[in-house]
């Protein structure tokens, strides 16, 4: 208790630094995965991908990042049990951040496909169950989160399978695939626009201070999606094709436009879900210190913390992420706009919806699910299924690794600040 009064400022400064470091890691690694599909399918250049990521990661984090932040902040650890010892929550959240960031650094060095989401959740569960008590963890919520890690790639895979099948059925099998593409791609754009605006309106805006009813949201979402679709339709109309191009190339040209929109939604989705990994713990620590030692439960995440997360992600992306993006873009040449959009749209909507349900999921793993869905629909010449095994393995390793590191850091912090 005294520790908070005595070291409050330094604790907050440290937490903000760790949170920024973590956000930097998210920007440096995950964003590249989220945007790489569009670059690989040659729908956008790396420069455009970075600009899109900057705008929409930030928008996603700021407008729709509140729900998942709430989960990381107070959904996993039961704050009521810590009402007497708020300092433990502070040390714990700091330890979790440092543990997750350290683990990410180690894993990236060795090239393991670990997820920031899994690292931070493992770390929080670790410090809470060992450092405080097993009962301090809301196991029901943890089980729900763990289930969402399996469910989200499966849903994205199913959705991308259906999307790709619809493209085959209604566009490539049509008498004139180019005309069919021009007619149908706006519908896909509408879907993107609708899901993103619906989640933002129902779940995001209350953190910004706007409360709108579900019905109103529905109307606004349709309106927003309509405007986005109109913009898309306008761009498609302006598309110039040379008659010399073979029909498949012309169809892909239309899908490349669609992929600009799915890339935006992907960046938005990623921002809305993954910013929480970095700033959820910061928000928790800030809540305690700001209230002078109360484990605040109700107050929402202050906007400046969302801002911090957004800026951290952008910094990571600008300083390091573009290199990873270039690697991905250069190597995923098997994706075409018509198959890539299906994977991306499926993954982006799954992640955005998960954000709406305040579930922290892994964007990268969801995207892997989306790509596998296209593969099942015979849309990709070769997929390396061993990667799926690697992902499972990384889950099994990341959760205990994050937990053990968090426990160690937790005891270190407690020792430092209690003497």
């Amino acid at each position: 208790m005294e520790a908070i009064a005595q070291y409050g400022t330094i604790l907050l400064v440290l937490t903000v630094a760790f949170g920024f470091f973590m956000a930097w890691g998210v920007g440096a690694n995950d964003v590249a995965n989220a945007m790489g599909t569009s670059v690989g399918a040659q729908a956008i250049t790396i420069k455009q991908a970075i600009i899109i990521a900057m705008v929409f990661e930030f928008a996603g984090a700021y407008l729709a990042g509140g729900e998942v932040t709430g989960t990381i902040r107070k959904g996993i650890v039961d704050p009521e049990l810590l009402a007497e010892t708020p300092d433990l929550l502070v040390y714990g959240m700091m330890a979790a951040l440092l543990a997750a960031a350290t683990w990410l650094l180690v894993a990236t060095t060795f090239g393991w496909p670990v997820s920031t989401t899994h690292s931070i959740v493992g770390a929080i569960v670790g410090f809470a169950s060992v450092g405080i008590s097993v009962d301090a963890v809301k196991w029901a919520k943890v089980a729900e989160i763990a289930a969402s890690w399996i469910v989200s790639p499966v849903i994205a895979g199913t959705a991308s399978f259906l999307l790709f099948m619809s493209v085959r059925r209604f566009i490539f099998a049509a008498p004139d695939p180019y005309i069919a593409a021009k007619r149908l791609v706006p519908i896909y754009i509408f879907m993107v626009g609708f899901v993103v605006s619906m989640v933002t309106l129902t779940k995001g805006l209350k953190h910004v201070g706007l409360v709108i009813s579900f019905q109103e949201s529905l109307v606004y979402a349709v309106g927003c999606a309509g405007v986005i679709t109109a913009i898309g339709a306008l761009i498609i109309r302006q598309l110039k094709v040379s008659e010399r191009d073979d029909p498949t190339r012309r169809v892909e040209g239309v899908f490349a436009i669609l992929m600009i929109f799915t890339a935006c939604s992907m960046a938005f989705a990623h921002g809305s879900n993954d910013v929480a990994n970095a700033i959820g713990p910061v928000a928790a620590v800030y809540g305690v210190i700001d209230s002078g030692g109360l484990v605040a439960q109700t107050s929402s995440t202050p906007p400046w913390i969302l801002l911090l997360g957004g800026v951290g992600i952008l910094a990571g992306l600008a300083l390091y992420g573009y290199r990873v993006m270039a690697t991905i873009g250069k190597h995923i040449t098997e994706l075409t706009p018509s198959s890539g959009f299906a994977a991306e749209l499926a993954a982006a909507t799954t992640v955005v919806v998960a954000s709406g349900f305040s579930l922290p999921v892994s964007t990268t793993h969801t995207l892997v699910g989306g790509v596998l869905g296209v593969g099942l629909a015979r849309g990709i010449s070769a997929l390396n299924l061993r990667v799926v095994g690697t992902i499972f393995l990384s889950w099994l390793v990341t959760l205990p690794a994050g937990a053990v590191l968090a426990i160690v850091f937790f005891y270190i912090f407690r020792w430092i600040f209690s003497v």
Partner: protein
């Protein structure tokens, strides 16, 4: 960048089994195509010239063998592809018969310094040209596989491959007819020739026919791949 440190999304995409198969077919086609200048040289009895072309055929055949080996090794069961692994390997085996036949023809004719009786020369060249054309068509059909994946095995691209395969069937039939003619022409003059030379010439004719047969089988295997 090391394989292990590549982003997971990059690792997810396996090497396409189609590209090396297309490369193998291209090399096989080149081996078959080199038979034409070779045969002209043989007919002209210009052995040094024939030997240069034969060397090219041997080199292409060796390339094809090397590709075949690396395709077999590089097609692990963990690779998920729109095409079944066994279908692709069977297609490869059929393709590989083309450079082998080309090598056999060149080897036999060069080794025996086989002379072609002027009475059959023109038909033999025409026969060979048609067979080589069949391998060319098979390679073209194989090159369409990427587009087929892209368009989900539907629509115009499928029709194009189907018509290529139909064309292959027609060419193969045409080679059958010319083969009969070449044999008839050879039969007409065979009594004036050395018996063993004639025997081997009949074998060469069989092998040239085999080029077209295998090319047609490549086409049929291709349809089989697509229809699954």
């Amino acid at each position: 960048m090391r394989e292990k440190s590549r982003p997971v999304l990059v690792r997810l995409f396996g090497k396409s089994p189609i590209t090396p198969l297309q490369k193998h077919m291209e090399v096989s086609r080149q081996a078959a195509a080199a038979l034409l200048p070779f045969m002209h040289a043989v007919i002209a009895e210009d052995w040094p010239e024939a030997e240069t072309h034969a060397d090219l055929i041997y080199a292409r055949e060796a390339d094809a063998d090397e590709l075949k080996r690396s395709i077999r090794v590089g097609m692990p069961r963990s690779i998920f592809s729109p095409f079944s692994r066994s279908d692709l390997l069977e297609l490869l085996d059929v393709q590989d018969k083309i450079p082998n036949a080309a090598q056999d023809i060149a080897g036999l004719m060069l080794g025996r310094k086989a002379t072609v009786p002027p009475a059959v020369a023109q038909s033999l060249i025409e026969f060979l040209e048609t067979s080589v054309q069949a391998t060319q068509l098979a390679a073209e059909a194989l090159d369409k596989l990427d587009d087929l994946i892209e368009t989900g095995f539907l629509g115009r691209e499928v029709t194009e491959v189907e018509s290529l395969v139909v064309g292959l069937g027609e060419i193969e039939h045409k080679t059958d007819l010319i083969q009969r003619q070449v044999r008839a022409e050879l039969f007409a003059v065979e009594r004036d020739l050395h018996a063993i030379d004639v025997m081997f010439l009949y074998r060469v004719i069989d092998w040239i026919g085999q080029l077209a047969d295998e090319a047609e089988r490549v086409g049929n295997r291709l349809l089989y791949l697509i229809s699954k």
